[in-house]
Each structure stands twice: as structure tokens, then as C-alpha cells.
């Protein structure tokens, strides 16, 4: 547990889904099924046709906690659930565009307020029970029920009002939005359609939370995903088997998925995961750190390692800009005079050696960042944001302009002092279990030492850190990272809105504290209801440019998505969106049919 394992894992917090894009752009490969039972509206996937059979073994860093898609918040649960559920509209992880899934079609009314969804005909849950509009109706009732506390509920509140759903007939439903929604049908991604026949009773008894735990017997749980529950052994493994009723086929009309079994082994340390993969006991590995990736690449034996390029994780340094009342942390309040000075933040940004961060922290397998949108997010990244190279001279000049000066300190180094003669000293808190961010902080500390700033790195245990940053607000500066789980700007809207709960440098403001924050608010609200991509892109570019000038977050770097798989695995096409490897699990197959005997 201690080493770097917890590192990138820290970002498991985000479970994004959703968003953007009008309907027309959607389906990549959709055609109606030719073959099986005539009344079944199956979806045919393009791509290499594989062969049936075999078992794929995947290691998970922690045990999944629940199989219930309504309540799952932790990464391992979501990874498992993703292979057992289906949504109305799905974001293709490779193209980052939407595709019709359980919905055969989605029609948007001209005013953008009504989405008419037609379900595929004749689909069945993994226990053989048919799917119809009542299941969908029930699903949305559950997600929207306040007493259920589903973390996805907040996504279904548009324009301050929950989405409403009406049933037209057994296959057709209408979703009504209060305002036009720029995210469009992406909103449906990740919202698993629930089996009403199994869940209605527990739901009405208020016992939904107790359903779909891992101790649920396999015959009392069903979904629409490619796999269904077979066996769970506490602390050891979860075995899923092929869902015989799955609604996708390959180009040859062969019903997917190919694999007979999908095994999740619980391997609680990332280093042990690497070893499992190396010894052949696990077939795929994802979420690797750069060091482990290069170790595996060096000693390649029957597996392929892939650097899928920068993902959607962005790491950044931010200062405490909260409006502190005099009582809490007077020490911090005094330093805020510097932090609030734009030129101070710009100087820090100019002094940070991003190239060294990419090289030393990610061994070159990452990208330096000057904004929150990583190069991996090709559709939304703003090319106009300047990639300013490191310049200590520029930093010094900015500090001088802001009234800072230098004196020679006791030890002979020059120390930065502010206009009132106080030495510039502050601490950077970061998560002690995330080796990458601790390393970044240590590099920044050394960078800023050259400006005469005395910086202390204080690694804190993760929850202590969140408590300080979000609750007590007793910190000077913090290095943190977020992972957008979807490419659409909306997935992180609460980071940019000044009243957002994750507006980290000064969360949940009742009124924008600065004029530029107000401007960002306006732009973000506007893109939310704009429906064309070009229009939204223009607005979001503007947001990125404002962030680049005012530097409320000093963006540092983004790691590449690093994965590997055995050579015998077909259709292995890693994506930079989660789940990186298993996103097309229904198409994965074993070339020689050998499978993992799973010693």
C-alpha cells in the first residue's frame, strides 16, 4: 500500500461519464443485425471478428465494493460494473463520440428541450427477462430519487431542474429538459439501465443499498452488459461469465462477447499487479506508472506495452484564495496578499520547470500543461494558449513589478521579500500517498528556491489533505490533480464555476470574488446551453485563455495512459478515457484460444 501504488489511484475519485455533441455525429459503426432471432434489434460492431471462448484475467487494485451502479463511487466497483451494464447512449472511448446503445435512436426536438428515445426491440437482461420502457422509467426514478443519494443524480439536474421522463409506448420515451443542454445525449452515458423486475420491491422497501452488494447471489442480479455475475470469493476474486442475451454481434453475425469468462483478481498493490502481469497470471494491465511501464517494456516477454498518449488527468498547483475571516488561520491570511497578486502567480508559473517534471516524474511519458485541457483531449484543447517556456528572468521581472525585492539572507542566498519587508515563505501541501505529486512539489520547491522563495513541502495523508483544502482551509498552496472522465468541458464545470464545490482555490462562492471568475462563470453557463460544437468550443477556449492569464491554478503536467496486454489478446485498442483497456471488453478475444489457465 505504501509505495507509489496509491499514486495515480488517487484520481479514482472522478467517475465521469457524459456529454456533448449533437446526434448526427454519433454512431460510428451501426447497422442493424442481420442474423439472430428476427425480433431482436441487435447492434453490429465493426472491427476484427474474433473467436469465442476462453477467460481473461484482470487485476484490480482494490476489491469492488458493490455491483449496484446507482451507488458505486469507487474505481474498482465502477470498472467491474462497466462490464455488466449498458446505457441508452454510450460514448465510444476510442472516438470520444456518442453511439446509440440500448436506444436505437435519439431524436432531439428543434428547441433542444425534448429527447425522444426509441429502445431496441426484443432485448433481454442477463437473466432472460425482457427490457422495456418501464425499466428505463424505473431507472430514472431511482437515479433522481433524493433519498437514494445516487452520486449520478447531480448530472441529471439541468438548469436547476431534474430531467423528467415520460413513456410513450413500450419502446419509446421522452426526456424533457428545462433548458437546452449543450452536453446533449452524452448525459445518458454511464447511466446503467436497471432491472425493474429485481429492484422495484427493494426500492420500495427502501432497501436498495443492500441490493447488489457482493454477497448478492448470482441469480438475483441482472444487467444488460456483456458479462454477468458468476462467483465472488471475498478478498480474492470476482468471476463474471458471458451474458448469453447480450445485444451486440460482430460483422459475422456472431453474438458477442467472445470471452466465456472475465476474472477480476484483487491485487491490492500496484507493484504486485505488475508482477502478476509479468508472470502471466494476469492478461492485461492498465493505469501503470511510468517507471513500472519502462520496466515492463524492457523485459518484454509475450506481451505488448502501449503508451496511449496523454490522458485527461491534469496536475496543478494552486494557492489558497479563500475569503478567510480573520479568525481562521491568520498566518495564511497574511500570505494571501501575495497569492492574490496575479503577477506573483504568473511569476511562480514562469519559474516552474515543467519540462523537468515531465522528464523526472513521468520519464518523458507525459505532457507539460499550460491549461486544464490536455493534449489527449484533441477536440477541446485551445491551441492559442501560450506554452511559455521556463524563464527565471521573466519571473523576477514580474515579482519586481509586483513590489517584491531581494535581500541577501543569512546563508548567502538571496531571499525574496515583499513590499513590507516580510520574507516570502509558504508551504505546499500534497498527498503523501501520491509519489508523483510529492515529486512535483519537491521539484517546484527547488525551482522557487531560485527565486528566493522559501517553500516547504508538507505531504499529508489524503483525507487530511482534503479536509484542509476543502473544510478548514488552513493551507498556503497545494499540488493536486483531477481526472476528467470525459472529454467534454462539462465534466469539470464545477471546477470552473465560482459557486462550484470543486472550484478548488475558493470553492462555493456566493458571488464571484473577482471579475475574471465572473467572466468564466458567464462563459461556462453560456456554453452549457449552446448546442453547436463550434460555438461551445469558442466559449471554452476563452475560459482556457482566461485561466492562462490569471493562473488560479498553475498547470503542471499530464501523464500518459500506459497499458499492456498479452500478445494473444485480439482487439486490444487502449483508449485514453476510462476504462482504458476494458472499454471494448465485448470484442476482446483470445487469438489462439489458449486462455489464462490462471495458475
Amino acid at each position: 500500500m505504501r509505495s507509489r501504488n496509491a499514486s495515480s489511484q488517487q484520481c479514482w475519485m472522478l467517475l465521469n461519464l457524459l456529454l456533448a455533441l449533437a446526434v448526427g455525429l454519433a454512431p460510428v459503426v451501426i447497422a442493424l443485425a442481420q442474423q439472430p432471432a428476427p425480433h431482436e434489434d441487435l447492434l453490429t460492431l465493426s472491427g476484427e471478428a474474433g473467436r469465442s471462448g476462453g477467460r481473461l484475467v484482470v487485476s484490480l487494485r482494490a476489491e469492488p465494493k458493490t455491483l449496484n451502479p446507482v451507488l458505486a463511487t469507487d474505481a474498482p466497483s465502477r470498472e467491474v460494473i462497466a462490464t455488466m451494464r449498458a446505457d441508452l447512449v454510450h460514448i465510444n472511448r476510442a472516438t470520444q463520440l456518442t453511439e446509440a446503445a440500448l436506444a436505437k435512436s435519439v431524436k432531439v426536438s428543434p428547441d433542444g428541450l425534448q429527447y425522444t428515445v426509441t429502445l431496441r426491440q426484443g432485448l433481454r437482461f442477463s437473466d432472460g427477462q425482457p427490457l422495456d420502457a418501464d425499466d428505463v422509467l424505473f431507472t430514472f426514478r431511482v437515479y433522481l430519487d433524493e433519498s437514494v443519494h445516487s452520486p449520478q443524480r447531480d448530472l441529471l439536474i439541468v438548469g436547476g431542474k431534474p430531467i423528467t421522463v415520460h413513456k410513450i409506448d413500450a419502446q419509446t420515451l421522452v426526456f424533457q429538459f428545462a433548458t437546452p443542454y449543450g452536453v446533449g445525449e452524452r448525459v445518458f452515458d454511464g447511466l446503467a439501465i436497471l432491472p425493474r423486475h429485481l429492484l422495484e420491491k427493494p426500492y420500495q422497501d427502501g432497501k436498495l443499498a443492500q441490493i447488489g452488494t457482493l454477497s448478492t447471489p448470482a441469480n438475483q442480479w441482472a444487467g444488460l452488459g456483456p458479462f454477468r455475475l458468476k462467483e465472488y470469493v471475498a478478498g480474492q476474486r470476482l468471476i463474471l461469465e458471458r451474458n448469453p442475451y447480450y445485444w451486440k454481434t460482430d460483422t459475422k453475425g456472431h453474438r458477442l462477447p467472445y470471452l466465456d469468462e472475465l476474472v477480476f483478481l484483487f491485487v491490492p498493490s500496484s507493484d504486485a499487479q505488475v508482477l502478476r502481469f509479468q508472470s502471466g497470471e494476469a492478461d492485461v494491465i492498465s493505469g501503470l506508472g511510468a517507471e513500472n511501464f519502462s520496466v515492463l517494456s524492457r523485459q518484454r516477454r509475450g506481451y505488448t506495452m502501449v503508451d496511449a498518449g496523454p490522458g485527461l488527468e491534469y496536475n496543478f498547483l494552486f494557492f489558497n484564495l479563500n475569503d478567510l475571516d480573520g479568525k481562521t488561520a491568520p498566518e495564511v491570511a497574511r500570505k494571501q496578499k501575495w497569492f492574490r497578486e496575479v503577477k506573483f502567480r504568473q511569476a511562480v508559473s514562469a519559474a516552474v520547470d515543467r519540462e523537468a517534471i515531465v522528464r523526472l516524474v513521468y520519464q518523458g511519458r507525459g505532457a507539460a500543461l499550460w491549461g486544464p485541457v490536455t493534449p489527449g483531449n484533441r477536440r477541446w484543447v485551445d491551441a492559442k494558449v501560450v506554452h511559455q517556456p521556463r524563464s527565471l528572468d521573466k519571473a523576477r521581472q514580474l515579482l519586481r513589478e509586483a513590489g517584491f525585492t531581494w535581500t541577501s539572507g543569512a546563508s548567502g542566498d538571496s531571499a525574496l521579500i515583499d513590499a513590507e519587508g516580510r520574507p516570502v515563505e509558504f508551504s505546499i501541501v500534497t498527498s503523501s500517498s501520491n509519489a508523483d505529486r510529492t515529486k512535483m512539489s519537491t521539484l517546484i520547491q527547488d525551482d522557487l528556491k531560485q527565486l528566493g522563495m522559501r517553500v516547504q513541502v508538507v505531504p499529508l495523508e489524503f483525507r487530511s489533505l482534503i479536509d484542509r483544502v476543502m473544510q478548514t482551509k488552513e493551507y498556503d498552496a497545494c499540488v493536486l490533480g483531477l481526472v476528467s472522465f470525459d472529454a467534454d468541458p462539462n465534466s469539470d464545470i464545477n471546477v470552473w464555476l465560482s459557486n462550484g464545490g470543486t472550484h478548488l482555490w475558493n470553492p462555493s462562492q456566493t458571488h464571484p470574488a473577482t471579475q475574471w471568475e465572473g467572466e468564466i462563470d458567464r462563459l461556462m453557463e453560456e456554453q452549457l446551453t449552446a448546442t453547436s460544437y463550434e460555438q461551445r468550443k469558442k466559449l471554452y477556449d476563452r475560459v482556457q485563455e482566461i485561466l492562462a492569464v490569471f493562473q488560479p491554478m498553475i498547470f503542471l503536467a499530464s501523464p500518459d495512459i500506459l497499458v499492456g496486454a498479452k500478445n494473444t489478446i485480439g482487439n486490444f485498442h487502449p483508449a485514453v478515457l476510462e476504462p482504458y483497456v476494458l472499454w471494448n471488453v465485448e470484442q476482446l478475444y483470445l487469438r489462439n484460444g489458449a486462455g489464462n489457465s490462471g495458475r
Binding site: M1, R2, S3, R4, D271, V274, L275, G289, E291, N292, S294, V295, R298, Q299, A329, E331, D353, A356, R359, L360, Q363, G364, S411, G412, S427, V429, S431, S432, S433, A435, T438, K439, S441, T442, L443, Q445, D446, Q456, V457, V458, P459, L460, E461, S464, L465, D467, R468, T472, E474, Y475, D476
Partner: protein, 346 residues
């Protein structure tokens, strides 16, 4: 006397080792926090006497390392530049024993860095980090073990000697002390401390707390021995003569515990030194960029380091003599004080 010679031998060894650490500034060629971003994970540099042309040099020299194109941890020797090693060279400023400002180092080189034990992921000199790291870690180990043992001795002796309800209460108290999740208390403590408190001070405070809550084990060991010792014939006899408790404890009972205590000490000090690794993971240890043995050893717990950078194991090797020294001293002391020693008897 053979025991006395042995004792002297171990004392000399330990004093020498600690002297090395105390004067880390002199023996270490560099500042332990100084980064060299062109030199991360550089392997130990070799000292040569014969250069590539076959010429013999009087002074040992080395070839500086140059990073291979396109790599992040592979290096080649730059054979065009032979840099000679200088003894008693001028180098970065430090304070000898924390007092005397000084620039003289045992060795150094002008124009390039000489890292005899390689560098870490920031290009910091490992040798310097091991030496400086010892200052923090040994102090932490001695402090923690000292507190633990004195508390353990006091409580264990009281429980064993007085017995009865006092024994019962104190021994039941050991159970919660061994079982409670102190970690949460330490996290609470860290949250309570303002960030302005220097991380090093915070660390020593935490070591003291850990030392203070660790008394339960030695206390139980001591108590067992005391239970037995106080019923020895000579103790009973002395008690019969009306000797006061203080005399009995001091003169007859506590000496019996010396073997257990010394063994505990020799084992506790290393344990406290290593405990810092766990503490670091929880954000309670010695923070970067300061060096400590705990955070040097913590590197070993990464698979990539284990397979790729063997020299990161040198810190573990370097501290073995210290741990051995404590073990040796403990047993030498024990032999020296052995009541049954030949020729002394009881």
C-alpha cells in the same frame, strides 16, 4: 578481561560510526538536497587510476556521466573529460556539528559531480543523503527507543514488583495500548499542528508520541522478569531484613532485567528508524527534500527501483553496521554484567 575488551571494541566501533554521521557535512561531498536534473538515477561513478589511453594517473579520477540521447536513466561515461578526485576540497557550505561554518569536505571534484554511490530520482548524491539522513534517523531511533524503554521499565517493574491490583490494572492497560489505532491520533495531531511548524519538528514530536505509546511490550517483558526476580532467595532474604522497596528494586530486581532491556534496545532502535517509512507514507515522516534513512529505504519498496537501480539498495547496506553495532554493544554489555560470569559468581 575478555568482556571488557569486547565492550571497548563495540564502543569504539559505534563511536566511530556516529562520528561519521555527526560530521556528515565534512564526509559528504554535497548538500543532500541539491538536485541535478541532468543526472537522475545515475549509477555509482567509478574511480579509475588508468585512463583509456593506458596512462597511469597518480590521483584517482573519474569520467563524468552523460545521459544517453532519448533515455531518462541511461548514462555513458564521458571519456574525453577525466576529472581528478581532490581530497580536502572546497565545497558547499555547511556547519560542522551544527555549529562551525565550514566549506572543507573530505573529497570533491571541480567541474563535475562525483557521486560514488549514485544518485536518486532527483539527481541528488546518495552518499551525502545517507550521511545526512543518519542524523535525523539515529536521533529519532535513540529518542523513541529511550522513551519507550524508560516508560516500559518503570511501568513493568512497578507492575511486577508490587503485584496485586496494580499489576492487574497496568497489564490490562497494555492491551489497549497495543491495539488502539494510534495512527488516527497521530493524524489528528498533525492536523492540529499548524503548517508553520517546521516539518522536522513535527516529525520529532510524532516520534516522541510513538515512543511514549510503545511502552506496553517492554513493560510486559520486564514485568515477567521482575515477577520471577523478586521471589529469588536473595531478594526475599533482603526483604526479610527489612530492606526498603527502593533498595530492593534498584539493587536486586532491576539488574535482572538488564538482559531483556538491552536486547529490546538493540532491536527497538532499528525499528524506530524503519518506522519512519510507514510514517512517511501517511504524511507523518521526514518530508522531502530532507534526507532520512526511512525515506531512503522507502525507495526500495518500489518495484521499478528494485529491478532497475541496484544502487538504491546501498542505504540498506550502509545501515547494517549501525544495527550490528547496537546488537554487539547490547550483548557485550550483557556479558560484562553477567552475574554468573566465570570467576565472579553470585
Amino acid at each position: 578481561m575478555i568482556e571488557r575488551r569486547k565492550l571497548a571494541k563495540w564502543l569504539v566501533v559505534l563511536v566511530a560510526l556516529h562520528g561519521l554521521i555527526a560530521c556528515a557535512g565534512f564526509f559528504a561531498p554535497y548538500d543532500p538536497v541539491e538536485q541535478d536534473r541532468q543526472l537522475p538515477y545515475a549509477r555509482p561513478m567509478k574511480l579509475h587510476l588508468i585512463d583509456t589511453q593506458g596512462r597511469v594517473h597518480m590521483r584517482p579520477f573519474f569520467y563524468p556521466l552523460r545521459m544517453r540521447e532519448g533515455s531518462f536513466d541511461q548514462y555513458d561515461e564521458d571519456i574525453a573529460r577525466a576529472m581528478s578526485l581532490k581530497l580536502f576540497a572546497e565545497g558547499p557550505r555547511y556547519r560542522l556539528l551544527g555549529l562551525l561554518p565550514c566549506r572543507l569536505h573530505l573529497f570533491g571534484a571541480a567541474g563535475a559531480r562525483i557521486c560514488l554511490l549514485g544518485t536518486d530520482g532527483y539527481g541528488r548524491d546518495q552518499l551525502s543523503r545517507i550521511l545526512y539522513g543518519g542524523q535525523v534517523s539515529l536521533l529519532a531511533g535513540l529518542l523513541g527507543a529511550g522513551i519507550t524503554l524508560s516508560l516500559g521499565l518503570g511501568i513493568g517493574a512497578a507492575a511486577g514488583y508490587f503485584g496485586g491490583w496494580r499489576d492487574e490494572v497496568l497489564m490490562r492497560l497494555t492491551e489497549p495500548f497495543l491495539a488502539l489505532p494510534w495512527l488516527y491520533m497521530l493524524l489528528g495531531l498533525r492536523a492540529f499542528l499548524p503548517l508553520a511548524v517546521s516539518p522536522l519538528e513535527a516529525f520529532f514530536l510524532i516520534v516522541m508520541v510513538i515512543g511514549a505509546v510503545g511502552w506496553a511490550r517492554p513493560a510486559r517483558l520486564v514485568r515477567g522478569v521482575v515477577l520471577s526476580a523478586k521471589e529469588r532467595d536473595f531478594v526475599r532474604a533482603a526483604r526479610g531484613f527489612g530492606a526498603p522497596h527502593r533498595y530492593l528494586l534498584w539493587r536486586h530486581v532491576l539488574p535482572e532485567t538488564s538482559s531483556v532491556l538491552l536486547t529490546q534496545a538493540a532491536i527497538l532502535i532499528p525499528q524506530y528508524v524503519l518506522a519512519e517509512m510507514t510514517l512517511s507514507f501517511l504524511g507523518l515522516g521526514v518530508p522531502e527534500p530532507l534526507a532520512s534513512w526511512g525515506n531512503l529505504l522507502a525507495n526500495l519498496q518500489q518495484y521499478s527501483v528494485l529491478t532497475s537501480y541496484w544502487w538504491m539498495y546501498l542505504p540498506a547496506l550502509a545501515i547494517v553496521p549501525f544495527f550490528l553495532g547496537y546488537l554487539g554493544l547490547a550483548s557485550a554489555l550483557q556479558e560484562w554484567a553477567d552475574p554468573f560470569k566465570v570467576g565472579r559468581g553470585t
